[in-house]
């Protein structure tokens, strides 16, 4: 679609997705770029579905890399995997409390903890707030990960480390972002919908949600 009104459009991108991952990616157009920075400062968590495969280890932790090692995996059960996930969640919870810079002795900190609102509001290393196993069919498994300040390569590294903890090895086959702050898969536009009308509709639908979230977090 062209025309005199649609030239000189400035576009900005929200949290990036690398070439091997897929999912929701937020773009801002024109005045929306300012909202993008506000959303970034809200530090909302993102949700990924990560698929993994036991038995292989590669150099870049994904299944298209150079093979480093092959191992057996028939000793792995869902219970052992969930135990490792609980350990990961526990250590990340401790890191979450540490990086959110809140004095744990105050009443406000207690009330925020009850509502689950404690999170780091500044720069921090990648933190996983929640992780659980959706499917487990040997040798494949699928995890749902809620995280903050992460990169997709970090998630692939997590899959590799889970494999190591279970005395085997694992590679990541799929990383798919299903939620980025307030935007979920339902709000996302498919490739076939990349036209003006759908874009306008999508912007209109999300305006209210974005405004509410920014008001709630940044006050």
């Amino acid at each position: 679609v062209t025309g005199p009104r649609f030239r000189r459009l400035r576009m900005g991108a929200g949290h990036r997705l690398d070439a091997k991952a897929s999912g929701v990616m937020v773009l801002g157009i024109g005045h929306g770029n300012k909202l993008l920075t506000d959303l970034h400062n809200c530090h909302l968590s993102k949700v990924y579905t990560v698929g993994g495969l036991f038995g292989k280890a590669t150099d870049d932790f994904s299944d298209t890399g150079k093979l480093v090692e092959k191992t057996t995996f028939d000793h792995i059960t869902r219970e052992k995997l969930e135990r490792i996930l609980a350990v990961i969640q526990g250590t990340n919870h401790k890191a979450l409390l540490m990086h959110s810079n809140i004095d744990m002795k105050t009443q406000e900190a207690y009330e925020m903890a009850v509502k689950g609102l404690i999170r780091p509001m500044g720069k921090s290393p990648p933190i996983i707030t929640a992780i659980r196993c959706l499917q487990f069919v040997l040798p494949e498994f699928q995890l749902e990960i809620h995280c903050l300040h992460e990169t997709q390569q970090y998630l692939r590294k997590i899959v590799h480390e889970i494999g190591l903890e279970l005395k085997s090895s694992a590679v990541c086959t799929q990383v798919r972002r299903i939620r980025d702050g307030v935007f979920t898969l339902d709000d996302a536009l498919l490739r076939t919908h990349w036209n003006l009308q759908s874009i306008q509709n999508a912007i209109w639908d999300c305006q209210l949600k974005v405004k509410r979230e920014i008001e709630k977090t940044l006050g």
Partner: protein
């Protein structure tokens, strides 16, 4: 044309020189990659029957040796320093799988359900022989006052290779060991009759060989609990027996004197089938099979203030809390905790209760929000499974 011919000649001239030594690396095709993948060797790090070894972790105050790791008290390497506090869990190596552990005031007992001769290990303070008689390596007639490593406790069992130790419990200076067929053994300080035997004037408890066997119960004892200076026994029929110091009414026998023989408790408990007893300091709680809660003992910290204004209650009283059917109760030094069937945790008493810094004391149970135990929309089926109390700390184990 001439250039082409020249190049061809050059290549043929090169070939004999580098025959078989080096070949240019061409990008391998997908089929070659797949074949290389399949041909790679497979490593096995853990077999199918690999089982996770059961572990014991210790943390806390180290100077009394109660953690069982000698290098915390007496460093065995030059760079190690004696540490006062071990603030994160540290793995303790044990020979057998440990099924029951109890922390006393400066000492610990570990026990396993094996049929070997050594079933109970003790470490820490032994000034009142609460770990039995630990023969000293230097002088065969003397015993150790501090035991720094888990050391076997010799029990006078009639059938040492058949009896199994089910549970151990530790109080301030005495300990109780529950076996499956030979009753309860008690050792340690008996100045208030808490070991269940007659108080002997001026008895020296240190380096004593006395381990008393308790037999005066109506049926088999299934749970033993040590308070600070008293002992509680729960039998299979649902009755509760108590002995020991009673100045705060913690024996629940209707008087404030010491009792040296285990006696059955009456009061609101008489006739009720009790499924769990808990005690730590001077307050005691009992849970019945219908989910009711009974309490007696010290109430200086409002633990029993919902039924009475007095600070010492010497007869078990029913606590009419409307919090649902109670599954488990735990007593701490100044605060109490109860776990209901739905998995909710209620706290009351005095001190840091877990409801924020503003709530320091309450007589009525307050619920701790489940979101603090990991419950959320993402994880809705997490429940608290077990609860325990220390002197000023609470602990809860969740189901996931």
């Amino acid at each position: 044309m001439a250039a082409l011919a020249g190049r061809v000649v050059l290549r043929e001239a090169w070939l004999p020189l580098c025959r078989g030594l080096c070949r240019a690396a061409r990008p391998r095709s997908l089929r070659q990659l797949r074949e290389a993948d399949e041909a790679a060797p497979v490593f096995q790090y853990a077999g199918k029957a690999a089982r996770r070894k059961d572990r014991v972790f210790v943390w806390g105050f180290c100077h009394s040796g109660a953690l069982g790791i000698p290098s915390f008290v007496r460093p065995d390497a030059g760079w190690k320093k004696p540490r006062r506090v071990q603030s994160t869990p540290y793995r303790l190596e044990t020979e057998e799988k440990i099924c029951s552990a109890a922390c006393g005031y400066g000492f610990t007992l570990l026990s396993s359900t094996t049929t070997d001769i050594t079933k109970v290990w003790g470490m820490g303070l032994n000034k009142d022989s609460q770990l039995g008689f630990q023969r000293s390596m230097g002088d065969r007639n003397k015993g150790y006052e501090y035991v720094l490593e888990p050391s076997p406790v010799a029990l006078p069992l009639a059938k040492p290779q058949q009896t199994r130790v089910l549970q151990v419990s530790c109080g301030r200076a005495h300990s109780l060991i529950l076996t499956d067929s030979e009753g309860v053994f008690s050792m340690g300080n008996n100045s208030y009759g808490q070991c269940g035997r007659k108080v002997i004037e001026d008895e020296t408890y240190s380096e004593s060989h006395v381990i008393h066997e308790l037999k005066e119960f109506d049926s088999r004892v299934v749970q033993v609990v040590c308070g600070q200076d008293h002992s509680l026994f729960r039998t299979k029929k649902g009755a509760v027996y108590a002995c020991g110091w009673g100045a705060d009414g913690q024996t629940g026998l209707g008087h404030y004197n010491i009792t040296s023989v285990p006696t059955k408790l009456q009061g609101d408990i008489a006739g009720v089938n009790i499924i769990q007893v808990a005690s730590y300091g001077d307050c005691c709680l009992a849970v019945s099979d219908e989910g009711d809660l009974f309490g007696w003992g010290n109430s200086e910290y409002l633990q029993l203030a919902s039924v009475t204004e007095t600070t010492q209650v010497n007869v078990p009283r029913h606590l009419p809390f409307k919090i649902g059917k109670i599954k488990e109760a735990a007593c701490g030094g100044t605060g109490n905790m109860a776990l209901t069937e739905e998995g909710n945790v209620f706290v009351w008493g005095y001190g840091i209760l877990g409801k924020g810094p503003n709530l320091m004391e309450t007589a009525v149970p307050e619920m701790i929000p489940p979101s603090l135990f990991g419950w959320s929309d993402f994880n809705p089926d997490i429940r608290v499974a077990r609860i325990r109390c220390g002197l000023s700390q609470f602990a809860a184990l969740t189901s996931k």
